[in-house]
């Protein structure tokens, strides 16, 4: 047996023994996700157990080095782990901005001490992070940000405001873009810094979304303190890190919609006639969508394989982000059509409190958060196609 086959069978056995039953049922949406963090309330004992077991093995972050709390797996092994988890329909033990965005940036730009300090806590789900990028006057034009950080020797004093900060009210720490040089040009005066949200100088104010949920906030800094040891990279060189992190954020957002069932749902809801979905027009629209979705799924696979072979993802992540999020919006429009008027119950048992409608509305943000579709198209035009400014 090859090493990889041995790894597969060990992994299969371990998952069989250790993945609790409830964690093998599909999650129903954002409310079911395990985000981790100091104040996180587990929805079940199984969820807690699953996080602890996976965290202890570093399998919440399979490819991170062991010394930083990861699983130390090769990309091939991680692929096997993922496929074995899919096989038993295991839920992800932990989803977090730490894993998805900050981790990769720290691994690339952080010092050994910073990695030792922050990464293991991300891996075990002990600290929950939020992303302090956007400001009222710096959205698509992110580099226009004006939150100010003043050098006070061993620390910075931070003043300003962030907005649309997802889960800021639930996060323990923030990775934040601040301006450390107001004289320099837009992109060269920005620094990337980490600090504790649990301090007097930080306040958050939740904002209600059209979905009726409130996953993001306005975040205010009034003399907030950040230790200099938590400055990632050099002062005024934060933009490079910010952009690198965005490529991870974008790739992560791109495949959010794929697992949501569509054609099976349509067969179930609408019935079939001669083996075809009975509603002919919808069948056509679904096929059209599923063709694009399948082709896109293989594009994610190809991008991963290219990255593994040493290719640079770079601006290609903008393509994935733009395409994947538009696809996801389209998918949820079709889910509405399949459900007809049932989709619009907003409260009540029948609809699990408007799950379909709320999820549908939530997808509208996919093509805005992490940089809008228009911004992704700008990036493709400039960085990949070399079109003039």
């Amino acid at each position: 047996m090859s090493d990889l086959e041995a790894f597969r069978s060990e992994t299969r056995d371990w998952l069989e023994t250790n993945c609790p039953p409830l964690m093998r049922t599909p999650s129903t949406g954002e409310a079911d996700i395990c985000w981790g963090g100091k104040t996180f309330v587990f929805q079940s004992d199984d969820q807690k157990l699953w996080l602890e077991r996976m965290g202890a093995r570093g399998w919440t972050v399979p490819t991170w080095p062991k010394e930083y709390g990861g699983g130390g797996l090769s990309k091939e092994e991680a692929k096997i782990l993922a496929s074995e988890m899919r096989r038993i329909k295991a839920r992800s033990p932990l989803v977090s901005f730490g894993i998805w965005m900050l981790g990769p940036a720290l691994l690339k730009f952080g010092t050994h001490e910073q990695k030792l300090e922050h990464l293991p806590k991300i891996a075990r789900g002990e600290i929950r992070w939020c992303q302090g990028y956007s400001e009222p006057n710096a959205g698509s034009d992110l580099a226009a940000l004006a939150t100010k950080a003043e050098d006070k020797g061993d620390h910075y004093i931070i003043n300003g405001q962030k907005v649309w900060t997802s889960y800021a009210d639930k996060a323990d720490w923030i990775f934040c873009l601040v301006r450390t040089d107001f004289e320099a040009s837009k992109h060269t005066g920005i620094s990337f810094i980490l600090f504790d949200m649990d301090q007097k100088g930080v306040t958050t104010k939740p904002i209600l979304l059209i979905s009726g949920n409130s996953p993001f906030c306005e975040t205010f800094f009034d003399d907030a303190i950040a230790l200099k040891s938590n400055l990632v990279g050099e002062e005024n060189k934060g933009w490079t890190i910010a952009k690198y992190l965005l490529t991870h954020e974008r790739t992560g957002i791109s495949d959010m919609g794929l697992p949501t069932p569509l054609n099976a749902l349509a067969v179930d809801k609408l019935g079939t006639k001669n083996g075809e979905i009975a509603d002919k027009m919808l069948r056509h629209q679904i096929a059209e969508h599923e063709i694009d979705a399948a082709a896109f799924m293989f594009t994610l696979e190809r991008a991963k394989d290219e990255a593994k072979a040493g290719g640079d993802m770079g601006a290609f992540s903008s393509m994935l982000k733009g395409y994947g999020t538009e696809l996801n919006k389209d998918r949820h429009e079709l889910i509405l059509k399949v459900n007809g008027s049932d989709a619009f119950e907003w409260e009540g048992q029948f609809s699990n409190n408007g799950e379909i409608a709320r999820n549908w509305l939530r997808t509208k943000a996919n093509s805005i958060e992490g940089g809008t579709t228009e911004v992704q198209l700008n990036i493709i035009a400039k960085r990949i196609l070399n079109l003039p400014a």
């Binding site: 054609n263 083996g275 069948r283 096929a287 082709a295 394989d305 079109l387």
Partner: protein, 378 residues
């Protein structure tokens, strides 16, 4: 298997790209058209393609082929799409070779495949009878006799039909139009008595023909595969051909994008390069995205074809997506070139003409979207 090219495939890609750009650029197709060359391709080019191993790309080494597999065939087709290189590659080296491989007996394989690989024998499939691709809908009759079969009926849209020396003909030995059973494949010599070959001059300036069979007699040995069971061999062979067509469409789409982007970087209006207009930038970026997504579906289907087994779902996915993207790319290319894009003197028009023609060949977008849905269980 990783969804990227391996080293050998990468080398093949580079050599195919270089070969067709040098030996058979779009200007060659223009000359073939303007000079009304009967074959609509260059026999010299075809000879060189055989020497390069392209003609035998799918044929096993035991039969004198290069055995590069479907991924290899796709790479060659993509390069040909970029240059609109005319040759019987798809008809003979892909469609006919795959079908003989799938349906032929040992004796047929060892007599036909080496000749195809050497480029000496040009064969093609005669399948459609109306303007709509519908294999099971074939009605052409093959009536068994003591000495073989008698074929009567019409075939249309036969690629390289005017130049081919042999046809693989789908005809009905039993059953009704629409039945999957009862169809059989026959190997027919172009010189057979009662076979009339009419060259069709088509939009893409390539070689196509209509065939009329007026009681053409073939002997029993002409039967390719089991009588009445043609679809079992035809399905997988057609799927290989469809995915390779998708790859040609991908080449066309990519070339249209590249030429358009270059034009956006050169052409000035309102005192600035038109490529600085965001309205055009976004359309170009969207086209880029569609092409990349299409590329993935095609590579996956090519790989699945090589892996063996049922790959209908992948083949229909690839052909459907390629049709849609090629349609977008060729339309956008003309629009973003403005008036010059409409002129015959400018090459872009050749791309849209070829694209639409092969989008239709062996099933268009709707055909494959429907088949994709069926394969997915709905």
């Amino acid at each position: 298997m990783a969804l990227i090219l391996n080293e050998e495939q990468q080398l093949l890609k580079e050599s195919a790209d270089g070969f067709f750009a040098e030996k058979a650029p779009v200007s060659q197709l223009r000359t073939l058209r303007d000079d009304k060359v009967e074959d609509c391709f260059s026999r010299d080019l075809w000879k060189e393609m055989a020497e390069m191993g392209f003609a035998g790309i799918l044929v096993g080494e035991d039969h004198g082929g290069a055995d590069f597999g479907l991924v290899g065939a796709g790479l060659v087709a993509e390069a040909m799409g970029r240059n609109l290189s005319a040759s019987p590659f798809h008809a003979s080296s892909v469609m006919a070779a795959a079908l003989i491989e799938a349906a032929g007996n040992d004796q047929q394989k060892s007599s036909l495949l080496p000749a195809i690989a050497a480029g000496e024998l040009i064969a093609t499939l005669a399948i459609d009878e109306t303007g709509t691709h519908d294999p099971e809908g074939s009605a052409m009759k093959a009536v068994a006799s003591d000495t073989g079969y008698k074929l009567s009926g019409m075939k249309t849209f036969v690629q390289e039909g005017g130049a081919a020396g042999h046809y693989i003909v789908l005809a009905r030995t039993s059953g009704e139009r629409g039945d999957r059973d009862g169809l059989s494949l026959f190997w027919v010599d172009r010189r057979a008595k009662g076979l009339i070959v009419d060259r069709s001059v088509m939009t893409d300036s390539r070689n196509w023909a209509k065939l009329t069979f007026e009681g053409v007699h073939v002997d029993a040995g002409a039967l390719l595969g089991d009588e009445g069971k043609a679809m079992d061999a035809l399905d997988p062979a057609l799927d290989k051909a469809r995915v390779v067509l998708a790859a040609e469409l991908l080449g066309i789409a990519q070339e249209c994008l590249d030429r358009t982007v270059k034009y956006l970087q050169e052409r000035k209006q309102f005192g600035v390069l038109i490529g600085s207009f965001q309205g055009l930038q976004h359309r170009a970026a969207q086209l880029f995205s569609e092409i990349e997504v299409t590329r993935s579906a095609i590579l996956k289907a090519l790989q699945m074809g090589d892996a063996g087994g049922d790959f209908r779902w992948f083949a229909s996915l690839a052909k459907a997506k390629a049709c849609k993207t090629a349609e977008l790319a060729t339309n956008e290319a003309i629009q973003m070139h403005g008036g010059i894009g409409m002129t015959d003197e400018f090459d872009i028009g050749f791309f849209i003409k070829r694209a639409r023609t092969i989008q239709t060949l062996y099933g268009d977008y709707n055909y494959h979207a429907d088949r994709f849905a069926h394969c997915s269980g709905y």
